[in-house]
């Protein structure tokens, strides 16, 4: 049975696209046939982060409008043959999305993919609603700050009230929390909310904590999802997320500030 997973947050710039790219890549690396869809019409950048921007010919909106087939629009990843990208349109306006159109495409994808990952745009407008509407599960991406948590709360309310599952009274969307750009030092100094604070406010299952790391930016710039950088803490944290999603028990990492070693203690950081 295929699963539709929306990566959403309400707020922009929190790491949805970064998470979508790494999560989808991780599922494919574990042998699952996966497609990741960019719902961010006009601001497409999933293809950049996935390193396939030059190969974009047709996009999601072309498929909805019947101007291209899914087969023509899907881009196969260079390294993982189980991974596909359905890019967003850069030029179309947001009204291109209709419920019926999106549903048709998702239904068709369900026939041949195990996982359909939907990278949501920011906000709570049509694009974001369309990205979450057909979801079976949701990765809610939050940064450890009050405004981001508030927006995630809002999105959780929408998942519970305005999704297809909610409207049809089906079993609710399974919600998972991913805290990204987490900096233990800044939590300790009180600048950022702790995982406990966030959990208190949102009260949903924590699926992973992705530390703030420079390797994310480097990875995006080179068009390689950070999960493929197994040396980086963020890459490892995303790997943990994928394993937890697939049902394995993996302890949380990267929650505490690094203890300063002898060298650093003597000579300063």
């Amino acid at each position: 049975m295929s699963k539709v997973i929306v990566v959403t947050s309400g707020k922009g710039g929190v790491g949805k696209t970064t998470t979508s790219a790494s999560f989808a890549t991780g599922l494919a690396m574990k042998g699952h046939k996966t497609v990741v869809i960019d719902f961010d019409v006009g601001l497409r950048n999933l293809d950049l982060i996935m390193g396939c921007e030059r190969r974009v010919v047709y996009d999601f909106v072309n498929v909805i409008n019947g101007e291209a087939t899914l087969k023509q629009a899907l881009i196969k990843d260079k390294t993982h043959d189980k991974l596909f990208i359905l890019p967003a349109s850069q030029t179309r306006d947001k009204d291109a999305f209709t419920k019926e159109g999106v549903e048709k495409v998702i239904d068709e994808l369900r026939e041949s993919f195990d996982y359909i990952v939907c990278d949501s745009p920011a906000g709570i407008e049509k694009g974001a609603i369309m990205a979450l509407y057909f979801a079976d599960e949701a990765l809610v991406v939050t940064n450890p700050e009050v405004s981001s948590v508030r927006d995630s709360d809002r999105i959780l309310g929408i998942l519970a009230a305005k999704s297809k599952r909610a409207e049809e009274g089906a079993e609710p969307i399974k919600e998972h929390l991913i805290v990204t750009r987490y900096s233990p030092e800044r939590v300790e100094s009180g600048e950022m909310l702790s995982i406990e604070d966030i959990n208190d406010l949102l009260g949903i299952n924590l699926m992973g904590v992705i530390p703030e790391s420079e390797s994310v930016l480097q990875a995006s710039n080179s068009g390689i999802p950070v999960i493929r950088d197994s040396q980086s803490s963020s890459g490892q944290a995303y790997d943990d997320v994928v394993m937890r999603f697939l049902g394995e028990e993996v302890p949380m990492r990267f929650l505490d500030a690094e203890k300063k070693g002898l060298f650093k203690r003597i000579f300063g950081a």
């Binding site: 508030r150 709360d153 519970a160 009260g203």
Partner: protein, 258 residues
């Protein structure tokens, strides 16, 4: 005395909308008024007039320009859509001011609205002294018929941007009411979890309504239109504590639960 109608009293309320900037032209306030209720039994205008003029002649001052509510619940012909326009003009000639109806079918209410009447919801009806008991010296005896109030129970978190309204009764919430969320009830509000958003009890004007919360972290609380906004964190003796909110002599009062 004929039994075409029956006088009783019901508390009701008026709420004016709050208008935002620039400088409020009106303010949101809820007040409780007690209005005489004409309990209609038959629709025959002649009979109504006869009964009413007899009643009014007994206490002219009391009825002069009195606002009245028409209760449709006890009509012998429950489905009959009355000629409200004719009824209203009759009442006005008797120096009564018809303001609205209570109960009745959707069609009846619709017809009432078209005749310029309001539809009043809720309100407990105090049985007035019945004509026969008036002869006895039991003028004080008032039987209260309280409209059964149902409680709305919510067991999911109320999240930012969501609003829950318990119409005609109490609201019980078994999960957090988060910042940016709003819970509203005509009656009391009980929250067995943190209240971080807004809670408005007694919004139709019930000044006896209360808000009771397990952990007080609210942005706003209101009872019967008397509200308080907490822009800053609540004082330590309240923040995160079990607390209740009620009106005491029209002043909003927040106290920790003991």
């Amino acid at each position: 005395m004929q039994d075409d109608l029956f006088l009783e009293e019901t508390p009701t309320s008026s709420v004016t909308e709050k208008v935002a900037k620039p400088g409020p032209a009106v303010e949101l306030r809820g007040s409780v008024f007690t209005l005489p209720v004409l309990r209609l039994k038959r629709s025959d205008l002649g009979a109504i007039e006869e009964t009413l003029s007899e009643r009014i002649s007994q206490s002219k001052k009391f009825f002069e320009n009195a606002p009245v509510v028409l209760d449709l619940e006890h009509l012998e012909t429950p489905a009959e859509v009355l000629d409200f326009a004719a009824l209203c003009s009759l009442l006005r000639t008797l120096q009564l001011v018809p303001v609205g109806v209570r109960q009745g079918s959707a069609e009846q209410q619709q017809a009432a609205v078209e005749a310029g009447l309001a539809v009043l919801r809720g309100g407990s009806v105090q049985e007035a002294v019945a004509a026969e008991s008036k002869d006895k010296k039991t003028g004080e005896v008032v039987k209260q018929v309280v409209v059964p109030s149902k409680a709305l129970v919510i067991d999911q978190p109320v999240r930012s941007g969501q609003q829950i309204y318990a119409q005609g009764g109490d609201l019980i919430v078994l999960a957090p009411v988060n910042a940016g969320a709003e819970v509203i009830a005509d009656g009391n509000i009980h929250i067995y979890a943190p209240l971080r958003g807004r809670a408005l009890a007694g919004v139709l004007g019930d000044a006896s309504a209360r808000i009771i919360v397990q952990s007080m972290e609210a942005e706003l609380v209101s009872i019967a239109g008397h509200y308080q906004i907490f822009e800053e964190r609540l004082p330590d003796e309240l923040f995160g504590k079990s607390a209740q909110v009620y009106l005491q002599e029209m002043a909003l009062t927040l106290v920790p639960l003991r």
